[in-house]
Amino acid sequence: MMYDHFDNAVKGITDKLNQDPHGINARKKYVLELSRLGKKLYSKDENIAWCGVTAPFDLLGSMGVTSCFVEFVGAMLSSTQTAGYFFEEAEDSGFATDSCAYHRAVMGAVLKNAMPEPDFIIGTSSPCTAGLAIVENFAHQYKKDFFLLNVPQNYTQDAIKYLSAQLEEMVRFVSDHTKRPLSKQKLGIALENFNASSQLLKEIYDLAKTNPSPVDNNILKDFGTVITLLMGTQKGIDICQAFKDELNHRIKTRREHASKEKIRLMWIQNRIQYPFPINEMLEDLGAVIVVDELNDVTWDPMDPDNPFESIAKRMISIPFSMDASERIKHLQGLAGAYRIDGAINPCHWGCRQGTGIRGLISKGMKDINVPVLNLEIDCVDSRNLAKGQIETRVEAFLEMLS
């Protein structure tokens, strides 16, 4: 079922791109690559690893491992409106209804045998303990070997050394399973690709800061988190280049949505995954999400001569790995750089990590005079969506901002 879904997506998007061979179509190219990744994950011909969100996908890719974080599947099931079936399976098996729905959906898919069996599992303690618990469930369910990367919360020399040493152990673990040693040359290429992608990301985000912004409410949706799956590859560079070209083109041609911008917004954490016309609604009211919290480059370039330390620093540098004050400082920095008028925090039901500091985020943003709309919403499970209530609150918030 899932292989067919990705296969159809690849065919459909390829056809559309072929109809417009000279168009930039960055988002389509990006979705095409993700669909290709999905197809590979379900093809049964690859070494597959299910991972935590902050796993080093560039390093794994350089070792010939097709890897992905499990929440990606939860989001995909939600966006295709097939998650309900899997929620029920997980809940019937005892997974709490008030737990994170990204994890419930994907766990339901495991129990329904709708996930490709991995060769091994790489868990990460960041961003959340719930995610780690789910990947342990994966390892238990599939009876597969499990490697855990403890991502320390404090950015110290000891912490960096500790995570670097774990990454070296992970390489040995992966080699033992794939029977392929790490090629320094391939890793070097992956890190160079990662650096080139990171540089392009910075440029993309700088373009998004333009006033009015060339972005619409959809183009960079969940981009920062998901693009990490591709950043160690040439395809990743190509996708980033396409986004940069598209934004430049939009600035040059002053596409209509940019000129309609009245209110500049920041979206905190992840977007709503199921079809819910909030983007269109915001657009109708002249509001543009110019920045998503997770669309940022928080790391220094990778050093191919010191790969493990570079990757370790990168993993710890992600604001979700550190304490709330660092995350809030990061949000305040973005708010200033993008000159936003307000922020929307969809307090994803069941998320103790991100949503857990709802009040502290509101306070931190208030300190810099940025109002925050806290939406109590499940971003993945639409079964209890109070659509009318959410719409009214968004409307009232935008009215207040304007």
Partner: protein, 347 residues
């Protein structure tokens, strides 16, 4: 009376607090403070963490010289974050606790425990002393041995009131001193007491169950608690094997990481081993059934309940799963289910 150091997690080594000349004060989620924590954090968060924060916001705490936090789970991380807002003047130390058990993690945690020890001695203007740490560990180990002895007695026979008394001893170690708890262990449990019959032997586990009155209620509802595994019961009184390593902090790290872990800590070589451990403890304690009691919104435990249920089912051990907050009120609501469960066990 010694000055107090507050803490909230069972991975906090009490001997280090006492060696530095402080008294431990575990902040239990027991308070009449109004619910305010949701404003700083979120309402859908662990009731333990929220109630502890309520106490801080309402100043329902004794005078504290500092706070120790451990990033054992997302909710605990959030508590540490909110503490800066709630009590900005408190000196705070946050320890990084690895989630998996291996040699690298033990090295890292031993450095974290060393950092904690040095910080505590500094907070009390005391000179750092390994000897003092070894001395307090020795007393702590005596307490751990006494607790183990009492648990052994509980697993063999039903002695009315013993579970509640054991909880009082452990709470004394958490909120006052090891020495007082040790004295209680030596005098509070009557060695000559005769066992009674007629109760259903049950192993209870979960994250937090600290109120001694809960254990009296269990008995009233026909439960003989044969053993328990909570971060507020025997798991808290972790014996430290000082012979494990020449480095005292590595000995501490391996003792705390390797003995009966909380659901948030895992042995990656045996994914899901928490389920097997619970089966094993239930069998060892001669229990006929298992009751799981976890707090609402506790991801580490709730995500492991399906595998625990499966493992118990495989062994034909009846299992009752309860979810609640930290209040006696929430326990009261469970009466009918617990009574039905013990009736089903048919003792």
């Amino acid at each position: 009376m010694n000055k107090k150091i507050g803490f909230t997690c069972a991975y906090t080594p009490v001997p280090l607090i006492e060696a530095a000349g402080f008294s431990p004060f575990r902040i239990f989620p027991e308070s009449k403070a109004p619910d305010q924590a949701g404003h700083l954090l979120h309402d859908n968060l662990c009731p333990h963490v929220k109630k502890v924060l309520d106490r801080a916001l309402e100043d329902d705490l004794p005078e504290l010289e500092g706070m120790i936090f451990i990033n054992s789970c997302d909710s605990m991380r959030r508590l540490a974050d909110a503490w800066h807002e709630a009590r900005p003047d408190d000196p705070i130390i946050l320890l990084d606790l690895p989630s998996g058990i291996n040699s690298l993690s033990l090295d890292f945690l031993s450095k974290e425990y060393e950092r904690l020890a040095k910080t505590l001695f500094k907070w009390n203007n005391e000179s750092f002393s390994t000897k003092k740490i070894k001395d307090t560990i020795a007393r702590w180990n005596l307490l751990a041995a006494s607790v183990k002895k009492i648990e052994k007695k509980m697993s063999r026979n039903y002695f009315p009131g013993i579970a509640s008394k054991l909880q009082q001893i452990i709470n004394t170690a958490a909120t006052d001193s090891t020495d007082k708890a040790l004295l209680m262990a030596q005098h509070k449990i009557d060695p000559e007491e005769s066992p009674k019959g007629g109760q259903s032997p049950v192993f209870v586990f979960g994250n937090l169950l600290f109120d001694p009155k809960v254990y009296d209620l269990f008995e009233k509802w026909n439960v003989h608690v044969t053993a328990s595994d909570f971060c507020t019961t025997s798991r808290f009184v972790t014996p430290v094997d000082i012979t494990a390593d020449d480095n005292i902090f590595r000995s501490l790290a391996s003792s705390y990481m390797e003995q009966t872990p909380c659901a948030r800590t895992m042995d990656t070589t045996k994914p899901g081993s928490i389920a097997q451990k619970i089966v094993q403890r239930a069998k060892e304690s001669n229990a006929k059934g298992v009751i799981g009691f976890t707090l609402k919104f506790c991801d580490p435990y709730l995500a492991r309940i399906p595998m625990i249920r499966q493992a118990l089912q495989k062994e034909s051990i009846p299992f009752l799963m309860l979810e609640g907050d930290c209040t006696m009120g929430s326990m009261g609501q469970q009466q009918t289910r617990i009574e039905a469960f013990t009736e089903m066990l048919g003792v």
